[in-house]
Subunit: 210 residues, 2 copies
Amino acid sequence: MLEEANTERADLPSDRRAARTQATKDEILEAAWELVRKHGLAALSLRELAARVGMRAPSLYQYFPSKLAIYDAMFGQASRAALDAMNGDLPADRHEAMRTLAHRVFGFATSDPVRAQLLFQRTIPDFEPSPESYAPSVEMSARLGDVLAEYGFDDPDAADLWTALVGGLIAQQLANDPGGTRWARLIDRTADMFVDRMGPRNRAPRKKGK
Amino acid sequence: MLEEANTERADLPSDRRAARTQATKDEILEAAWELVRKHGLAALSLRELAARVGMRAPSLYQYFPSKLAIYDAMFGQASRAALDAMNGDLPADRHEAMRTLAHRVFGFATSDPVRAQLLFQRTIPDFEPSPESYAPSVEMSARLGDVLAEYGFDDPDAADLWTALVGGLIAQQLANDPGGTRWARLIDRTADMFVDRMGPRNRAPRKKGK
DNA sequence: GTCTATATGTGGATAGAC
DNA sequence: GTCTATCCACATATAGAC
């Protein structure tokens, strides 16, 4: 009964090994981000990735079971970063709050286009994020719902309209003026437009006729 | 490739050959659309494409110099189709006109997701549309500017805001509810919101404070 | 335990036979 | 104009060296 179980105290070799394995995985992911930023999201090559961390391609399979698993881990990192970027206190004023929120999401997305592409577009064949990697995105949706409710946006379509507005600004900025400010300048006006249309006082004002 | 300008007389063998070549190119492109609709835009395989038109892969190079050239020809077809979809008379009423325009673009984009992906997202590594294939898209932008001016939207940001709004609705619909109507239902409200905010009477009404 | 060597299958692309 | 044969890069899987 005195055999040393491998799953006990800290400082056991197995724990150190796990930590080292995790460190290597992080190093691989960091190199993967550099490569996709350089060559594009779909152009990730395992050979080139392995070379960048001083390995041969097959050795990567000791850390990730497939190329799609690497994309999934990257998705998880991006998803968590998006959630972090969205968090933080918001001004009490409704207009200022939604402006601030829009700027946070816009800034996060445009600061790293390939990360945004991985998160918000489904462009890699056969890739679908695992539930674990997707969880922060789900929490983001819930967070948005909380914020909208807190500021009095009780229209059930408010969240969908908001994501369309902010996502539209981001997509146009990335596609047609990467690195510029052509759509960034429209953030405040768009947020105000949303608040004025969907806010508690001015619910659903439509055109006069009809 | 618009090499149909052989500048000779009609009915010459070279013309008949050119016509037949063009017919084969069209057949290849039609098969390519079927494949990308089936397997995804990035998963187009020349071998499978050739088999679908009764050839071997190398024979495709008699009609297109590369795989990217096939994507480019597809982009040209999609671009022309988008321009056609946008055309047509519009109601005199400003609200109705912008609603109609939004529905046309939205319907075009959501009716064929891979076509929209090829047109509006830059997802294929190293692919950039040629000036010839891109020309209809340029004309579309000009057309939008004409329409906005005609209906009195003289704010220089009106076109950029409009593309962001409509593009945002389309992107969300395709990404999060393909085949559904979750964002389609928001088109009229979004168009009205745009008109009320950017129209001649109500230019740039911002929040009261500040 | 960690990596390399090797093998398989698929991809785009080219050369040359017919 | 289409084919066969081939090349090179790729992801992937397995066996075995250390």
